[in-house]
């Protein structure tokens, strides 16, 4: 128990790094997701194919491989970035593909009659999208969006393998020195659990509201 007490400051710092990585990655992934979904729905074919290729690659390649590729390849390509920034870009781009699917599915879930109704009262595509489709689609996107956020939080743990000092990395360092895996990894798991469980509660609340609305 005393070990846990002594480790708290380190674990706390790791938790902050995890939270920072996760929130920055979620923001980036959401931006990519919205852009990707809009391109897939409205853009000319060439752009759509590009997004399609990006989705296909991300679906087939593990996040860890992308992180390793970034970690090894950037220095060779002569690009110097902070490892944290590199991690955020890779995690954001990886989960951006999941977010693209989330937002695209939400827009496609809105009945075409809504589009037709908008046309009939003389609105253009942008106005229909902003005033009619987006408010409904965002509500539908809520629960899967939260699920993807949980995947992002858990996904940030992989940066420990490339040496970023997130909570998983800190936990492993402490375990290698103290040989107390249960208490330390238990504490690490608990931190993730609290973050993800809170998120999943929000997701469930959104889902219930959606059920009521329908």
């Amino acid at each position: 128990m005393e070990l846990l007490w002594v480790s708290l400051p380190l674990l706390g710092r790791g938790t902050l790094v995890t939270l920072m990585l996760a929130s920055a990655s979620v923001i980036l992934a959401t931006a990519i997701g919205v852009a990707g979904a809009l391109i897939q729905l409205f853009a000319p074919a060439v752009l759509r194919w590009l997004i399609e290729l990006y989705l296909y690659l991300v679906r087939g390649v593990p996040l860890l491989v992308l992180l390793f590729a970034m970690y090894y390849a950037l220095p060779y390509a002569g690009i110097m970035v902070e490892p944290e920034v590199g991690g955020i870009v890779v995690i954001g781009a990886y989960f951006g593909a999941f977010m693209t699917e989330v937002f695209r599915a939400a827009v496609l879930a809105i009945p075409t009659s809504q589009w037709e109704a908008g046309r009939v009262i003389g609105l253009g595509t942008t106005r229909i999208m902003l005033d009619i489709i987006a408010p409904q689609a965002l509500r539908i996107a809520g629960p899967p969006f939260i699920n993807t956020c949980i995947m992002v939080v858990k996904g940030t743990s992989l940066v420990a393998i490339i040496g970023l000092a997130d909570i998983t990395y800190v936990g492993r360092q402490i375990v290698e020195r103290t040989l107390a895996p249960f208490i330390i990894f238990g504490a690490v798991a608990f931190v993730y659990f609290v973050i993800c469980y809170l998120l999943s509660r929000i997701g469930r609340r959104l889902e219930e509201r959606l059920d009521h609305a329908q």
Partner: protein, 217 residues
């Protein structure tokens, strides 16, 4: 950066050695997750409240913690307890524990997705509740779960790469060691990424065939 195509080709046989371990881990992980999810979904749908609570707790714990932390917990923890398991086993157990919970939710969704009136119709025909489940509900639910199972399976295959962190020489670790030795990073990681794309494409293809076989007319 310059790309040496011959190095790209030469890295493939080395990665293929790792591919054997990747497949040797992915196959049991896929099968055991699908099997382990059966008792889990039975627990989730059970009429006994304590059993539901117990299963829910398990599902919430594994779904809300990273599989990498679970692997570390099992790998380092088992050594501490005096019966060390290999990194391979720790990875396999963590993958099955985590994905069994996800697959159980997929099964639950499939069973819930069969309309209630199908069950009522079966009961009205005089079938016993068990027979209704086996003859009426299950075959319809099975067809519905194949696409989400295929997605989850792809995630399982990709997550096998994480055992590289506990010293299992699967494909990703082979690539990393090769990159450390040769510095041909672009060639090696491109080859590695393409091998994962090929592996997951083969898996999704098989699942699509299965879906087509199970479809009615």
């Amino acid at each position: 950066m310059n790309f040496d195509f011959s190095l790209f080709l030469r890295s493939i046989p080395v990665l293929a050695e790792g591919l054997q371990t990747t497949v040797a881990l992915a196959l049991p992980a896929l099968i055991l997750s699908a099997l382990w999810a059966v008792p889990v979904v039975m627990g989730l749908l059970s009429p006994a409240r304590p059993l539901v609570l117990l299963t829910r707790t398990y599902v919430e714990i594994v779904r809300n913690t990273p599989v990498l932390v679970q692997m570390f917990f099992l790998f380092f923890g088992s050594g501490m307890l005096g019966f060390p398991i290999s990194g391979f086993m720790a990875g396999l157990i963590a993958l099955v524990l985590q994905n069994g919970a996800y697959v159980a939710e997929i099964y639950r969704g499939g069973i819930r997705g069969v309309p209630q009136r199908q069950t009522e119709a079966g009961l009205a025909l005089g079938l016993a509740p068990r027979a209704v489940f086996r003859i009426v509900v299950l075959p319809q639910a099975l067809r519905k779960v194949i696409p989400p199972l295929s997605n989850q399976g792809v995630l399982i295959i990709k997550d096998t790469s994480l055992v590289a962190a506990i010293a299992v020489a699967e494909m990703t670790l082979q690539a990393r060691m090769l990159a450390d030795r040769t510095a041909a990073v672009f060639e090696i990681f491109l080859a590695l990424a393409l091998m994962y794309v090929a592996l997951t494409a083969v898996f999704s293809g098989v699942m699509r065939l299965l879906e087509r076989r199970l479809r009615i007319a």
